[in-house]
């Protein structure tokens, strides 16, 4: 700090010490987020490496049974992956069609007053704690479904998946609504000038133009479904099972982590390390989905 000319001061090069302190503090706060990611990777990777040293990749990826807490322990991840895939698929089968239809309604057909009321009301759905949805799935939805679906167990993928779809739907409708509204009016006017009616315009011109935004919304919904924990822990059961039958109890990757955390598995044991290996799988798959979804969403915005 040799005096510092006015021009330098204006460019902010010679800041007084107090300014520099503030800058350093808030830069630290911003860097904490990077540290958080590094922490997640370090914790998961550390324990996962320890896990694979003892178990090996083949026993994890090539076995079809998951019984790490039994005396005769098996570590095949596929039953947990199947449970996660099944509940997520059911959730998406609810959330994507319903969410996209709602997005079309809100963006193209709803009166402004309806829109002003419905958008925040849908946000409420996303704000309900997941443990409450778990209660709803187990105590209300499953008994109701048992009247309709013969052979539906008290814990099952169907009820949990449907309720999870209800939770995720607002995300799809909100991002979908943004994507549809980003389609320039010129396209709508062009279609109508060519004689298309309103519905044809929406389905044949507007939706295809918004497809990457809608795809991005769906991919982010997949990520949310894979990572959802309490609904599936409460309502889908805790029985790792390689099945596509939505009527029987299954266990998701997230539910397994909760199950072990609730028990008295000693820290540092092999059984304890399994939750980090499972979490590492979960982290990598949700991260991949999020990056892909964000990329598509950015592309959609640039297009719009």
């Amino acid at each position: 700090m040799s005096g510092g000319s006015l021009a330098e001061a204006i460019r902010g090069r010679s800041e007084p010490p107090r300014e520099r302190l503030v800058r350093a503090l808030i830069l630290g706060a911003a860097l904490l987020s990077v540290l958080t990611t590094a922490g997640i990777v370090a914790v998961l990777a550390g324990e996962t490496v320890g896990f694979f040293r003892e178990v090996g990749f083949a026993a994890f990826f090539l076995d079809t049974e998951w019984t790490p807490l039994f005396a005769r322990a098996r570590f095949g991840i596929w039953p947990l992956v199947a449970g996660t895939a099944l509940t997520s698929a059911i959730a998406l089968a609810v959330a994507v069609p319903v969410g996209v239809l709602a997005a079309i309604y809100l963006a193209e057909f709803a009166a402004p007053a309806t829109r002003r009321f419905v958008k925040p009301a849908l946000e409420l759905l996303a704000g309900v704690p997941t443990v409450v949805y778990g209660y709803f799935a187990l105590i209300f939805v499953t008994p109701l479904l048992q009247h309709l679906v013969p052979g539906l167990a008290s814990f099952n993928a169907l009820g949990a998946g449907i309720v999870m779809g209800l939770m995720i739907m607002p995300m799809v409708s909100s991002l979908g609504d943004d994507a549809i509204r980003a389609v320039p009016d010129a396209l709508r006017e062009g279609a109508m000038a060519l004689g298309a009616d309103r519905l044809t315009t929406v389905l044949r011109v507007v939706l295809p133009a918004a497809r990457s935004g809608i795809l991005a919304a769906s991919i982010l919904a997949v990520s949310r479904a894979i990572g959802e924990t309490m609904i599936v822990t409460i309502a889908a059961g805790q029985q790792p099972r390689l099945t596509a039958d939505p009527r029987v109890p299954v266990e998701t990757m997230t539910a397994y982590i909760v199950q072990v955390s609730l028990g008295d598995t000693p820290a540092g044991s092999l059984a304890w390390r399994t939750i980090f290996a499972v979490a590492a799988m979960l982290f990598v798959s949700t991260l991949a989905m999020n990056l892909l979804g964000q990329r598509l969403a950015r592309g959609a915005r640039r297009q719009g």
Partner: protein
């Protein structure tokens, strides 16, 4: 020589019918989830309202469902709420100020932004494992209140940062320029001029983040919240429970009576969330009115 292009007759009626049917379907898709939410709230009210009372709010857990109460869970949730806010608010607002007011478009800053966007999408149960690995074990905080709150703070930090940035972006540049022209330093400009203007938005985001934190279950289970606690937390290092944990524990019991307890506790949780959000809206309205008399 004008041609009438208007559709007539059966084709026009067919198209109108098709459109009406589609709009009805799309409207149903929009309102059905809201109806489901109403059913959810109605179901919980029917199941739990009768159980709600002073004894339930001030009681301790019990093996008998009709004697159980939620006082330790309420105390735990309240303590978590205060601590989480104390950790997450300064850090989140600081990070937001850095990114909006100080940062230039460098690689490091782009990395920070990308990172925050990705953190917002990490499943909450993974934050639990982070808390378990870092706060509970590496830093030796144990399965304590402060470890739980620190975990929740990291979980909601992206929400605080993103909403605070939004709020800072709405402050017009002319205010910053005016302050700088009057000779204010950058941080005086930021803390005395820009932040007060952005405060309603910052606080609204903070309340949303806190609502998210007090509804979380999975990360606290992983960090090691207890499910059966017969005392109140008496310090930062005390073992703890929280309202969602208590609900989870009761939902998982086979005896029917505990489902009633769970429903009553859900009513308390939803009531708290509703109050927080209503508070956020009121606060914002009030501050905005004060700003523009």
């Amino acid at each position: 020589m004008s041609t009438d292009l208007t559709l007539r007759g059966p084709e026009r009626r067919r198209r109108e019918r098709r459109q009406r049917a589609f709009v009805a379907l799309a409207a149903a898709a929009t309102f059905l989830p809201l109806a489901a939410l109403a059913v959810l709230v109605g179901d919980v009210l029917v199941d739990g309202l009768g159980r709600l009372g002073w004894d339930f709010l001030t009681g301790f857990p019990s093996r008998h469902w009709d004697k159980a109460g939620i006082l330790p869970a309420l105390a735990g949730s309240a303590a978590l709420m205060v601590l989480t806010a104390a950790f997450a608010l300064p850090l989140g607002v600081g990070a937001a100020v850095y990114l909006e007011e100080y940062a230039e478009d460098t690689r490091l800053n782009r990395l920070i932004e990308l990172n925050i966007a990705n953190l917002a999408g990490v499943p909450s149960v993974i934050y639990g494992l982070l808390g378990l690995g870092v706060f509970v074990r590496a830093l030796g905080l144990g399965r304590s209140l402060v470890a739980g709150a620190a975990t929740l703070a990291l979980l909601v930090l992206p929400i605080v940062i993103l909403s605070a940035r939004e709020a800072l972006r709405t402050v017009p540049d002319s205010l910053r320029e005016a302050a700088l022209a009057l000779g204010c330093t950058r941080h005086v400009t930021t803390w005395r001029v820009v932040l007060p203007q952005a405060l309603p938005g910052v606080l609204t985001g903070a309340i949303l983040a806190i609502s998210r934190a007090i509804g979380e279950t999975a990360p606290l289970v992983v960090v090691g919240a207890l499910t059966y606690i017969t005392f109140l937390p008496d310090g930062l290092d005390a073992p703890f429970t929280a309202l969602p944990i208590q609900i989870f524990n009761w939902v998982g019991r086979p005896q029917k009576g505990f489902a009633t307890d769970a429903a009553a506790a859900i009513l308390v949780l939803l009531g708290t969330l509703l109050a927080l959000n209503a508070g956020a809206i009121l606060l914002r309205d009030r501050m905005e009115r004060r700003r523009r008399p």
